[in-house]
């Protein structure tokens, strides 16, 4: 079999949101690409159907769930579409702050993509963790920028994934002046960092791979378009969101669950490079200057420029947000009143990955009748296939399989198809055969069960639907109590502590006892269990609890409370406030106590969280372990 006659199947298991999990199938025969398919097989999630019958006010919380990486894009597109239909004009404050909010998502998403997903390829690394070993400062800088993007989103939305602050009419809440001032300073501090990032990405060598394609993005009269503008194409198209359907059409390929999209029957590019190709002259002067200094040229027909394009947009997003927050003032109200109106709502914004288009039909009560959402990745899908075809021919099909695989990965990642193609892995099945058929793919469904199952550890943590035979498991509080006498046979030694401070004395005692007592004893270390102690008590015959205490004694004092003694002990028992005490009281009231219950406390004095335990306390740990072990042996005899 010659190299020329090989049949190659390349498969990339990709993970993503609505468009999702996918694979690349490539068949090369006689030096030609016979077949190239980007298959997306993320199970359909039917968001458009969930939206039917929902009140307009519920839409932002639902559409956020389409994508964990770019929820703001989905929320913004939806609320703006609905506001336009309802004739709602949000305040200038809300308009500006929404742009800041959106800048946060661009920053977060682009920084994630460059550092965790795309850049490792160019340094021969398989992951950002590997890249961090060679370029620790670069990766740490990237992660800090990503964090800053998350902070912007959390400022307005309380959290960065599925934020909860946006509503039709504005925001639910206006951030305080002090919070904004704090964040703005961080943004200003980050500008030089982002400039360094632009220089760094511009210096990474990329393949010469110019291709003809149409760029499509929102374009604004004066600003760099993010949340508003006309839909423009590099061939001169200039339309408003409602006209999208006249020029763009979705179609299905049998091998993919994501619909493809075509512009006048042709593939097209959306995303950062498409935006810069159309709007580079809308960037502030200093950024244009930086671009020129670093020999970056826009418009650009090499999609490998996308990583640098993202870096440019990171700098822009930081500068833009800092500027919009400069004279921040609290609004009279973060939102304006909304009255729904029946009709059809259209919206389009620039998600980090490109144009996002929504259409909603709404009734007079404000309920959604139907919805259509066209995400950026499905728009890029045909372009990725076309790019791979051209790029592979340009690269040379005679390259080794590994080289072809890596090249395909890089090409796919240029588009950042959600986080998916991010995956640093393209499984290659090389099938060398003269047969015309594509070899059977080793998909998820065909995963053989060839691993011998190893038994679950006997000391398991119970389980949500734990099978009854795992009797040693600790039932979580929600499970019904075990039937019969079984529940009375357990002997448990329980160390209580907390990982955050140095409150781990109870755990230390348990660790020592583990090596000294027979296996029929169950050892458990608990982190501030609260009421979770109760099911554990009620399923045991004998329990020894060990905890740190601050009872006013000398550090290293050991106090012992039998079942009856702790009942009269009122307070100051535990460093965990009343948690353990309350749980024991409750267990008594519920008649959930074991036959015997011993509670040991080691006095830690006035130790503060984070302090290392003193010598006295450490020797008390040893002493207590000795005492429990010797009591055990005596009881046995």
């Amino acid at each position: 079999m010659t190299e020329q006659r090989k049949t190659l199947t390349l498969k990339v298991p990709v993970l993503t949101r609505v468009e999702g999990e996918g694979a690349l199938d490539l068949r090369i025969k006689d030096g030609n690409i016979e077949e190239l398919r980007l298959r997306i097989f993320e199970p359909p999630r039917f968001f458009e159907k969930f939206l039917e019958g929902r009140h307009y006010s519920e839409v932002p919380d639902i559409v956020a769930r389409i994508c964990g990486i770019c929820p703001v894009a989905y929320q913004m597109t939806a609320v703006q579409a609905l506001e336009k239909l309802f004739g709602v004009e949000v305040s200038p404050w809300a308009r500006d702050m929404r742009r800041v909010f959106y800048c946060g998502e661009w920053l977060q998403s682009h920084a994630l993509h460059i550092h965790l997903l795309a850049a490792p390829d160019f340094f021969g690394c398989n992951s950002a963790i590997e890249l961090a070993r060679i370029h620790p400062d670069v990766v740490r800088r990237g992660l800090r920028l990503q964090e800053l993007g998350n902070e912007i989103m959390a400022l307005f939305g309380a959290r960065s994934v599925h934020p909860v602050g946006l509503r039709v009419g504005g925001f639910h809440h206006a951030p305080a002046l002090s919070q904004v001032a704090h964040l703005r300073q961080k943004l200003l501090d980050a500008i030089p960092e982002a400039e360094k990032l632009v220089r760094w990405t511009a210096g990474i060598p990329i393949p010469a791979d110019s291709q003809p394609f149409v760029s499509v993005a929102l374009r604004h009269d004066s600003d760099y378009a993010i949340e508003t503008g006309f839909i423009d194409a590099s061939d001169g198209l200039h339309v408003d969101a409602p006209e999208y359907d006249t020029h763009f059409a979705e179609y299905q390929q049998p091998y993919s669950t994501a619909l493809f999209s075509a512009y006048h029957q042709q593939p097209y590019l959306v995303g950062p490079l498409a935006r810069l190709n159309l709007s580079h002259n809308r960037l502030p002067e200093n950024i244009r200057k930086l671009i020129a200094e670093n020999a970056l040229v826009f418009p650009n027909s090499n999609v490998f420029t996308s990583m640098a394009a993202r870096a440019v947009e990171i700098l822009f997003a930081i500068q833009e947000a800092a500027q919009l927050l400069e004279n921040y003032q609290l609004p009279d109200s973060p939102n304006v009143p909304v009255e729904p109106r029946a009709g059809i709502a259209f919206g389009a914004t620039e998600a980090p990955r490109g144009l996002l288009w929504h259409r909603y039909e709404v009734d007079e009560a404000g309920l959604i009748r139907n919805a259509r959402i066209v995400p950026p990745t499905s728009q890029n899908q045909a372009r990725i296939e076309e790019d791979l075809r051209l790029s592979l021919l340009n690269f040379g099909l005679n390259n080794s399989d590994d080289a072809l695989r890596l090249h395909c990965e890089k090409v796919i990642r240029n588009y950042d198809p959600c986080i998916s193609c991010a995956t640093h892995f393209l499984r290659v099945n090389v099938v060398r055969t003269s047969s015309q058929t594509i070899s059977e793919r080793n998909g998820w469904g065909g995963v053989p069960f060839r691993c011998t199952p190893f038994p679950l550890a006997g000391e398991g943590w119970g389980g949500v639907n734990a099978a009854p035979e795992s009797a040693s498991a600790l039932p979580p509080p929600s499970l019904p109590r075990p039937a019969g006498e079984e529940r009375f046979r357990k002997i448990r030694i329980v160390g209580i502590g907390a990982p955050s401070d140095d409150d781990q004395i109870g755990w230390r005692v348990v660790d020592i006892l583990k090596t000294r007592l027979p296996p029929e004893v169950e050892f458990i270390k608990l982190d501030r269990p609260g009421s979770a102690l109760i099911p554990l008590l009620e399923t045991s015959s004998h329990v020894i609890l060990i905890d740190a205490m601050q009872g006013g004694g000398q550090p290293g004092d050991i106090r012992h409370f039998s079942k009856h003694e702790w009942e009269i002990y009122q307070q100051g028992l535990s460093t965990h406030g009343l948690g353990v005490f309350d749980a024991l009281m409750l267990a008594r009231e519920l008649d959930c106590q074991p036959e015997s219950l011993d509670l040991y406390g080691i006095e830690i004095g006035t130790a503060q969280p984070g302090e290392l335990p003193s010598e006295a306390v450490l020797s008390a740990v040893e002493e207590l372990a000795d005492r429990i072990a010797s009591n055990w042996r005596q009881a046995k005899n």
Binding site: P43, R45, D61, A158, V161, V164, W461, G463, Q504, K525
Partner: protein, 264 residues
């Protein structure tokens, strides 16, 4: 769970049907992620790079719901290969928002979205991981946050049982000193029946909790339903509140069905 001291515990992060947002609880940790990578060995975490979906691991995080025939085989294999399996997020713990199709005819929906529905391979229901294999622990939330995941890993490394806070969002409002949005402003809030863990984010912004952390323990949905009615919500309005992010969790599902049955 004993952790082999001689080498770092092996951790896998698997994805099923989801939006990828819960994996961001790890990827959004910032520089902490690199420190975490010093403590554990991520052998499979496709979003971050490492790919070995069949690796045997000490700890597997599973995001997403089971939604296709392939998922069924895959989750069983993951269970066999993992000493500890932890479901993270609403999709993995309750079937997620996409479980709304469980109330409808999914096949019809496919036909309404796709011109050629025969090419779409999807199970009739979207179900949580615990419907198929034993799950050792669940972290609820849509999405779970970094504190939940980091806290879990921290406990795991220390060999300590994880904490499970099944209390209500109301307690978090009290801890934060937030005035109750329902009592003081009449906003229909899901906080009284919703599991704590987010830190009362929504009431903190002056809006209603919408239940994204799923049902709390001993959730009194009947009482909340009565409260919603007294605030003027229709049975459909009430049903939609329960039929949201965690619609297929038994507690919310029953509350939704019950509310729908109370049409005058």
């Amino acid at each position: 769970m004993s952790v082999n001291k001689s080498e770092k515990p092996k951790v896998a992060v698997h994805k099923f049907s989801s939006c990828d947002g819960c994996q961001l609880a790890l990827l959004d940790m910032g520089p902490t992620l690199l420190d975490l990578a010093e403590q554990v060995d991520f052998v499979h975490f496709a979003e971050a790079g490492p790919f070995d979906d069949q690796a045997r691991v000490d700890l597997a995080f599973v995001e997403g719901s089971v939604a296709t025939p392939e998922d069924l085989a895959r989750i069983r294999l993951i269970r066999e290969n993992s000493k500890m399996l932890v479901a993270i997020g609403a999709c993995a713990t309750s079937g997620g928002i996409q479980a709304l199709r469980n109330f409808a005819n999914g096949m019809q929906w496919t036909a309404q979205i796709y011109p050629q529905p025969e090419h779409i391979d999807s199970l009739p229901q979207s179900t949580p991981i615990s419907s198929h294999v034993k799950v050792d622990f669940e972290l609820w939330g849509c999405p779970v946050n970094s504190q939940q995941v980091a806290g879990f890993i921290n406990n795991f490394l220390l060999g300590v049982l994880p904490r499970d806070n099944a209390d209500k969002v109301c307690t978090e409002c009290k801890h934060r000193g937030l005035p109750c949005v329902m009592v003081s402003r009449g906003i229909p809030c899901m906080g009284p029946v919703t599991r704590a863990g987010c830190g009362a984010l929504c009431p903190g912004l002056g809006r209603d909790c919408y239940g994204c952390y799923g049902p709390a323990e001993n959730a009194n949905t009947d009482s909340l339903t009565a409260q919603f009615r007294s605030l003027g919500l229709s049975p459909d309005d009430i049903a939609r509140r329960f039929k949201n992010i965690n619609n297929f969790s038994p507690v919310f599902r029953e509350a939704a069905v019950k509310a729908e049955g109370t049409h005058d």
